[in-house]
């Protein structure tokens, strides 16, 4: 099994930072806030590998840093330090072995468009509110240089159909769509250019249960059919159990435990993991 993404020592500190930030924060100190300088350590020393075709879960509660990791990997923020490397990724062979955070903004944009895609919890974060559902999906293609309207539309329709989104509504603006439908558009958009890596930040949290189930089924189906490598962030153990082969458990910005999903759920080693597992209703 090949590694497609390797993250090393990823750290993000909000604020001016000081030499003691890392030693004064984390699960043993029960805080993210550095007493000495008041900076917030959103995540620190996060290292892991993502294998081709796997779903890696990140389990954590608010303040765990799980969303920060996603935002960093999607180049929405610059890490304070740390590296990330891509390997064996189709369409991005030029990036092989290079620290992604050292790339220039044009190169990062190329990766964002073609290789790494994000699906957010709030679909409106991933969608352009002033543009139709079809337009949102088409944007990715247009940026990649597609210039034939009929071909673009054919692909947009096929993607939306795959997401079980009603084609008759493809001209509608996102705000007139239900949460579940917005999410489907977001996923269609994320998949438009056939990325190799999909980052999902709690994509079903907040949706009605029946809608949640359908979107999760969709994600499972896509994973099977497209052999996507995915990082799936959630606070919900059942969802992680359903989707992920391996899980990273995060607390207050640090990884506290990492292992096979069934092992984490049945034989949690770290105190915090045991607490999470026993807290499920």
């Amino acid at each position: 099994m090949r590694v497609v993404l390797r993250v090393s020592n990823l750290t993000k500190i909000h604020g001016r930072g000081c030499p003691e930030c890392l030693s004064l924060t984390g699960p043993e100190h029960e805080t993210n806030l550095c007493k000495r300088c008041g900076s917030v350590v959103a995540c620190a020393n996060v290292s892991f590998e993502l294998y081709e075709g796997e779903i890696l879960g990140i389990l954590g509660e608010s303040g765990s840093g799980k969303s920060t990791v996603i935002k960093l990997l999607n180049f929405e923020m610059e890490p304070t330090f740390g590296e990330a490397y891509l390997y064996n990724v189709r369409g991005a062979e030029w990036a092989n072995g290079k620290n992604l955070f050292s790339l220039n903004s044009y190169q990062k944009r190329m990766l964002k468009n073609k290789v790494i895609s994000v699906v957010y919890q709030n679909p409106l974060l991933g969608l352009n509110a002033n543009v139709s559902a079809a337009g949102n999906v088409a944007e990715r293609l247009l940026v990649s240089g597609w210039r034939n309207y009929s071909l673009i539309n054919a692909r947009v329709e096929s993607l939306l159909e795959k997401m079980e989104f009603p084609i008759q509504r493809m001209k509608d603006l996102p705000k007139s769509l239900s949460g579940g439908m917005q999410q489907r558009v977001q996923i269609a958009k994320a998949l438009a250019n056939e990325p190799s890596i999909l980052l999902l930040d709690e994509p079903t949290t907040g949706l009605d249960l029946s809608v949640q189930a359908r979107v999760l089924d969709l994600i499972r189906k896509l994973h099977r059919e497209l052999n996507l490598s995915m990082i799936f962030v959630s606070h919900d153990l059942r969802v992680i159990n359903l989707l992920a082969d391996r899980v990273i458990v995060m607390k207050l910005g640090r990884i506290v435990e990492m292992g096979l999903t069934d092992q984490i759920l049945n034989d949690p080693q770290h105190e915090y993991t045991q607490l999470l597992v026993s807290s499920q209703l």
Binding site: R109, V131, S132, E139, L142, Y149
Partner: protein, 287 residues
């Protein structure tokens, strides 16, 4: 009392700086070069950008033509022409083929220009991406990184909603396959004239403080899709009621009294030439 003005009103240092800006613009076709717009006896928003370009490049041997919406005799064209003539003493003309510098607002003359002619266009809004992005910082980044997806998205949405691209004037073009440019509010009819022309085009936005250029023999391609191509206005079945032309850009006129719709050449000097020719032909002189 006669005040002593420098030739062409602007001082030489200013002219030199504006020329430097113009050279930069020519070196990077379609790229908006910022410049510090000067005080003129004409208010900003009335053609000061184009005027500053003309004043910086004009010499005593130049022949000047000024038009506004194709017409030499509209108020603004007349004022600008009088001002430049007063400041330089150059010869002025309405004949496109005789001019060496033509300053224009919102139209390109019908007669193709030569290598020795310069067309100076007045620009109200230099930024073509403003249509899809309000932030100046962001549009500059988009130009720098050639990140034009949003612009094509706008066209896509037009086709999705209306079945065609609905942009009329200010049709966005890709210059030298690199920068998206606003050709100013010229009609679609005139856009193809920019592509691989023999002459130099200079664009001046005085209020917005930008100068850009399209050098001769530069590709200027309107944004389009392979299956939804750029089209010019359709005047089939219509002709100029004065000279009978069926191959010029026509203005629609509603006749006083009758309310009849008439069409007339927008390029008035070209229309007059054609009418002259018809008169001569009528008096059995060949044209």
């Amino acid at each position: 009392m006669k005040l002593n003005y420098n030739f062409a009103f602007l001082d030489e240092t200013t002219k030199r700086e504006i020329r430097r800006t113009i050279l930069k613009a020519i070196a990077i076709p379609g790229y908006q070069v910022p410049f510090a717009s000067r005080e003129l006896p004409i208010a900003k928003g009335w053609g000061t950008g184009g005027l500053q370009i003309t004043l910086s490049i004009i010499g005593p041997d130049d022949v000047l033509k000024v038009i506004d919406q194709g017409c030499d005799y509209s108020v603004n064209a007349v004022n600008i022409r009088k001002f430049i003539k007063a400041m330089t003493g150059v010869e002025t003309t309405t004949d496109t083929t005789k001019a060496t510098i033509i300053q224009t607002r919102h139209r390109i003359p019908e007669e193709p220009l030569r290598q020795d002619q310069i067309l100076v266009l007045q620009v109200p809004y230099p930024e073509p991406l403003r249509l899809v992005e309000p932030s100046e910082e962001e549009t500059r980044r988009m130009h720098a990184e050639m990140d034009y997806g949003k612009m094509y998205l706008y066209l896509y949405e037009d086709i999705l909603r209306y079945g065609e691209i609905t942009i009329g004037a200010r049709y966005p073009v890709l210059v030298n396959k690199r920068y998206i440019m606003d050709p100013t509010p010229i009609p679609r009819w005139d856009v193809p004239k920019l592509n691989m022309a023999d002459n130099l085009f200079l664009f001046g936005a005085g209020r917005e403080k930008k100068i850009y250029a399209v050098p001769p023999y530069t590709t200027v391609e309107p944004l389009e899709f392979e299956d939804f191509k750029f089209r010019v206005e359709d005047f089939s079945g219509k002709a100029c009621y004065k000279c009978g032309a069926t191959d010029t850009f026509l203005d629609e006129i509603v006749e006083d009294g009758t309310g009849r719709r008439l069409y007339a050449c927008s390029d008035t000097s070209y229309c007059e030439k054609r009418m002259e020719a018809i008169r001569h032909a009528g008096s059995s002189k060949s044209f």
